[in-house]
């Protein structure tokens, strides 16, 4: 039973797009080069890295949970892939990307077990998983930046261009499209937001809720791992705590995109907007050569304003 109303994106999802346009227009007043194709294409490429993480995080947040293991799934995947490539063995090198993805999926399932079976609050459990991953990484790399390098494929994925558009962006759009289709057309998507609203009622409707939770966390792990592979390709290396700066912008992008942190309500289209908005905001603040301090302050203030706008809109309707 699909009706017109269900197929339209909610107003919350449109907010970040309006914000993005305002940023571009406002920014171009001071720096005309912002309107240039090169600059915008580069932003799309950079947005893709955050985009993968936010894609997975949206599923988990729709479920009413949160995944704080993003930083070290990303870091771990980068280490796994670059070490395999750096081993010098071509057979292992071809396994770099699949191995990193499997790693991400497995960590996702561990997250899911704690949340769905042991019923530990996801905020705590994924935090613990994150610190264990950090431990494993330190143990393996000796606390230094791991040796290794990115493969050609990884570099191409992260920095290549195809028909003038960044490959990373296209892969991101592709992945988002596939998952959007999954959410729209499969029971899984429906279960996800039902669990986010009311897990008990969903279970009582004869839904195997633990499987849905596993799947969501596994996909989130995959997405974070893909983000790690891309970033490793971009930097041509993995480095300690490369994922840390991404955790909070990921959550911010999802929430600004109109997905409720309490679960249930939200959309991928909004998340894409949120990612574009945050990427552009960060970029413009750095183009303006703001100090770190002012970048943080303005970033925080703008997110607060976006959130307050959401509240205002809801009060109005």
């Amino acid at each position: 039973m699909n009706t017109l109303k269900q197929n339209l994106p909610s107003i919350d999802a449109i907010f970040p797009y309006i914000g993005t346009v305002l940023l571009i227009l406002g920014g171009s007043y001071f720096f005309p080069q912002i309107l240039g194709f090169d600059y915008l294409a580069q932003q799309l490429q950079i947005a893709a890295f955050l985009g993968f993480l936010a894609l997975g995080a949206t599923l988990v947040i729709l479920l009413g949970h949160i995944d704080l293991s993003v930083p070290w799934v990303l870091g771990g995947a980068a280490i796994v892939s670059t070490s395999l490539v750096g081993s010098g063995n071509p057979a292992l090198a071809t396994l770099a990307i699949p191995a990193a993805l499997i790693f991400g999926g497995l960590v996702g399932i561990i997250n899911g077990v704690g949340v769905a079976i042991l019923r530990i609050p996801s905020m705590v459990w994924t935090l613990a998983v994150n610190s264990m991953l950090l431990g494993v990484a330190v143990l393996n790399t000796g606390g230094f930046n791991p040796k290794g390098e990115a493969s050609g494929t990884m570099i191409w994925l992260a920095t290549g261009n195809l028909a003038g558009l960044p490959v990373a962006f296209m892969v991101w759009v592709g992945a988002t499209g596939i998952i959007a289709l999954l959410l729209k057309k499969s029971a899984f998507g429906r279960y996800l937001s039902s669990i986010g609203y009311n897990e008990k009622a969903t279970f009582l409707s004869g839904v195997s809720t633990p499987s849905v939770i596993f799947a969501a966390f596994a996909i989130a792990g995959l997405c974070s791992a893909l983000g790690g592979v891309m970033l490793a390709g971009y930097a041509n290396q993995a480095y300690q705590s490369m994922g840390d700066p991404f955790l909070l912008p990921t959550i911010a992008a999802v929430v600004i995109g109109g997905t409720s942190i309490l679960g249930g309500r939200g959309s991928l289209i909004g998340t894409v907007g949120g990612v574009l908005f945050i990427t552009l905001l960060t970029s413009i603040l750095s183009v303006m050569q703001m100090s770190d301090a002012w970048r943080n302050i303005i970033f925080g203030l703008i997110i607060i304003i976006m959130l307050l706008l959401q509240t205002l809109r809801r009060k109005g309707s």
């Binding site: 143990l139 100090s291 925080g300």
Partner: protein
Amino acid sequence: MRNLLRINQREVIAILVLAVLLTLYLATHPTGPNTYVITIWANQCLILGLAAIAQFFAVIVRGIDLSVGAVMALTNCVASYLVIGSGFDMTLGIVVVLGVGIACGLVNGALVVFGRIQPIVATLATASLFVGLALLLRPTPGGQIDYDLADAFTLDVFGLPTALIIAAMVIGLFWVPLRRTGLGLGLYAVGSSEHAAFQSGMPVPVIRLSSFALGGLFAGLAGLYFSFVTTTGDAGIGPNYTLNSIAAVVLGGVALRGGVGTLTGALAGAFILKTIGSLMFFSGLPPLAQPFIEGLILASAIAIGGAGVLRVKNRLEVFGK
């Protein structure tokens, strides 16, 4: 008495675990238990302890505060300018530092209560804001705290670490009296059932705001104490303390769903977390394995706490309220 034990079961377990860990730590420490060792340990514990108390005040009213570390960083940077000079200057400085903490808490509280933003998201945004302000004050670590004052708060009194005395005072002179007021009770009521608290005639918004203000005050105290220990200002200290403060309250038996747990438990949880770290340091394990084992212990402790759900006989019970 048994009833009392049962109600405070989580705290009792946390304190017992802490006692065992501390004994182990002192027994394995190469120089044995002496005032110096205990003082260093207690200072580290108290910083996280105060941060955990800040987190406790957010969690008890069914919130979460991702800005604890940021408020610490900001107050630490403020302190590095103001807590120096004459006795009057320093007193005023400390008042300002704590005032900044409370103000940060009130900003969080206002966004949650009046802006109707979920605490986790609101504090995520304000964390960025507060760190920015801290960076504005101290783009690079620097500044200074009065050494004599810092020593007075971080050494010992007749062999007893000052940090432990402060912890005891927080419990005895702040928490116990607070628990006997309508506000202390209201914190639990709002966290456990906002609806029931409202219908009982409690001013829910005021209580929530106060809770965030108290959280800000303790984050400020944590930043101030951090300043005494390091005698310098650094805007980058935040992130670790935020996440560890969450882990600490959970270890201390404070339920993330709100309404359950005590300040004493949060403090004990922080002490446990720090003691595990210190224990690792002298345990003879390969140093590189320590972060992993720390993480493993944290995860197992939490998983064991969650294992109870496997015993429920009715599958609906796992969903809670």
